[in-house]
């Protein structure tokens, strides 16, 4: 499996990271080095093996379905790059 420039651009887009076109060939090369390393996993016989979901066999805890937190508008907005009237502010999303 080899990653071409087009695939590298698609991955960057999916990851929401802007990569300038002139940086794409080097990025594709790096992906290929890493994926070449990962390819070794193909040698392992994994027939009938369950993929691991958690390293410790345990049942995730459940809690009462009740409100435990809230009413912290100021604290939540305190680190926002832009907030207005008690909301996060972002560029226009819908035309």
């Amino acid at each position: 499996m080899s990653i071409d420039i087009e695939t590298a651009a698609k991955v960057a887009k999916l990851a929401r990271i802007r990569v300038e076109p002139d940086a794409l060939p080097a990025l594709a090369d790096e992906f290929n080095t890493i994926l070449g390393f990962i390819e070794q996993l193909g040698e392992v016989d994994v027939d009938g093996i369950e993929p691991m979901t958690g390293v410790t066999p345990m049942r995730l805890k459940r809690r009462e379905d009740v409100v435990t937190d809230g009413d912290q508008q100021e604290a939540i907005l305190s680190n926002a790059p832009d907030s207005r009237e008690g909301f996060f502010a972002v560029p226009k999303v819908v035309e």
């Binding site: 992906f31 390393f37 999303v93």
Partner: protein
């Protein structure tokens, strides 16, 4: 005064309780050392005022006879831990200016126990790196130098600031986190002790996430005993982390009997890598001799899937990172890129993440995105998780056969020079974690103990791997190794 920063936690605790020294004395001594150690670039956010306030409070508690072991102990905190009101940015520009409104569970427990925060410590960006060269704050410099050379060496990573600060006696101990070796490798590179507990032993709540199924916080200390004392204060169930274990925390220090007679120590043949330097090979066999001399039985064991641990890790960790780091979008916290005319929300995300994330983080997020994308999920991600099952099964088998602990080298080499790996491909850097990464994949506790030096005078460490939840037993084995090796060398002060 400056001698006080050289104390171990255990020594300081005893002096504090006797009234021979105050927490304020200890704290001032450390603050003086930190102010003098800018060349190491270990501390990146100082919290002097908080330190002095906490020290005064600790002194009051000690006077009242209410002094847990960590009371009055000055610590450095890795920048990955969210600390209320103090910059916590995982050494990334994308979290520039972020001041959490909350405290991580682990640091909260340490402050409840009376510990003192000296400041935040440098690290690789989002804990992604093995040399502390991916940090937005710049490289950390290892306090150790090669004999007769003033070349700047890496302290290792990702907890490089923590390792350098402890090795240079800027603090009594530090917190670290370990996803693939990020506590144990820097500990080995700087001649200190670093413990990664069993997955779930310490709460991950409030620790900036890298790969959630692998991340675990732990102590980085001057001695094995100090790791036992500090882990005691960090560990315990937390309802806010659904993967934190709801089981009792034993008395780790009480486990330090120094008696390992009759214990079975495994030596995994797969860790005898081709091209392993003779010095590392000798370190390993010397360590085995030390444990044998203490009455343990050495057993050759096999962990057949070891070879596949690193490739599995470099699927699973980036996959989880790409998901965890999706939250950095320029909306709720941290950096937002300046937008041009007509830029919409997608441009905001893309520009923000391109500006805010460094190169290695971008690369791993994109690799993670790729292995999770439609058409590749089964071939890469699911296959890697199946291999992870097999890696854990290897360890389960060995422990079921009666092995108490496993001895391996901690790293394939001593600390290398900063910039030395710049031209190498990323996989070369990843090989640093070859001995440590299996432990994260299997969720086991592992500890790095300094046991020797290479021909250039640089410290080298051995790793002991324990059974799940048996940190006490693991620490006891480590104590035996520490005492037998008698590694007490310190870096000469040049900074």
């Amino acid at each position: 005064m400056s001698e006080l920063s050289k104390l171990t936690i255990a020594e300081a605790r005893d002096l504090l309780r006797k009234g021979d020294v105050t927490a304020t004395d200890l704290t001032e001594a450390c603050l003086t050392e930190i102010a003098d150690a800018g060349a190491l670039n270990a501390f990146v956010h100082d919290t002097e005022d908080q330190a002095r306030t906490q020290a005064a409070q600790a002194d009051a508690r000690i006077k009242n006879g209410d002094a847990p072991s960590m009371c009055g102990i000055p610590l450095g905190i890795k920048d990955l831990f969210c600390t209320k009101g103090t910059p916590s940015q995982a050494a990334s520009n994308i979290l520039g200016g972020f001041r959490p409104e909350y405290e991580s569970t682990v640091t909260g427990k340490l402050w409840d126990a009376g510990a003192v925060m000296l400041g935040k410590l440098n690290m690789d960006e989002f804990a992604m790196g093995s040399s502390n060269e991916t940090s937005a704050y710049g490289d950390v410099v290892n306090p150790w130098r090669r004999k007769g050379s003033d070349a700047a060496l890496t302290p290792g990573g990702s907890s490089g600031g923590s390792a350098a600060a402890v090795a240079a006696d800027l603090c009594l101990a530090a917190t670290g986190t370990d996803t693939g070796g990020s506590i144990r490798q820097p500990a080995a590179f700087t001649g200190i002790t670093g413990l990664k507990p069993t997955y779930g032993r310490c709460s991950r709540w409030g620790i900036i996430a890298f790969a959630s199924s692998l991340d675990q916080a732990g102590p980085m200390t001057k001695t094995v005993r100090d790791s036992a004392i500090m882990l005691q204060a960090m560990a315990g169930h937390d309802a806010k982390d659904s993967t934190s274990a709801d089981i009792p925390v034993p008395d780790f220090e009480a486990a330090l009997t120094g008696d390992i007679r009759g214990k079975k120590i495994g030596l995994p043949r797969e860790y005898r890598m081709e091209g392993m330097p003779a010095e590392i090979e000798k370190l390993w066999s010397d360590g085995a001799d030390m444990l044998r001399d203490a009455g343990a039985e050495l057993v050759d064991i096999t962990l057949p899937h070891t070879k596949y641990a690193l490739p599995a890790y470099y699927v699973i960790a980036p996959a989880e990172a790409s998901s965890n780091l999706a939250r950095y979008d320029g909306v709720r916290f941290g950096h937002r890129a300046k937008l041009g005319q007509g830029d919409g929300i997608t441009e905001m995300y893309e520009k923000t993440r391109a500006e805010g994330f460094g190169h290695e983080v971008q690369r791993r997020v994109m690799v993670g995105t790729y292995v999770l994308s439609a058409g590749f999920y089964d071939a890469y991600y699911n296959r890697a998780r199946k291999v992870r099952t097999l890696i854990k099964r290897d360890f389960d088998q060995v422990f079921a056969d009666g092995i108490d602990a496993i001895l391996t080298p901690a790293t394939p080499s001593a600390a290398f020079g900063l910039g030395e790996m710049a031209s190498a491909d990323p996989v070369q850097m990843y090989l640093n974690d070859v001995f440590t990464v299996t432990v994260n994949l299997a969720g086991l506790p592992g500890i790095s103990v300094p046991t020797g030096a290479d021909s250039q005078g640089l410290p080298l460490g051995l790793q002991l791997i324990g059974r799940p939840w048996e940190e006490g037993d693991l620490l006891n084995h480590a104590l035996v190794l520490e005492q037998a090796a008698g590694f007490t060398a310190k870096p000469g002060k040049w900074w």
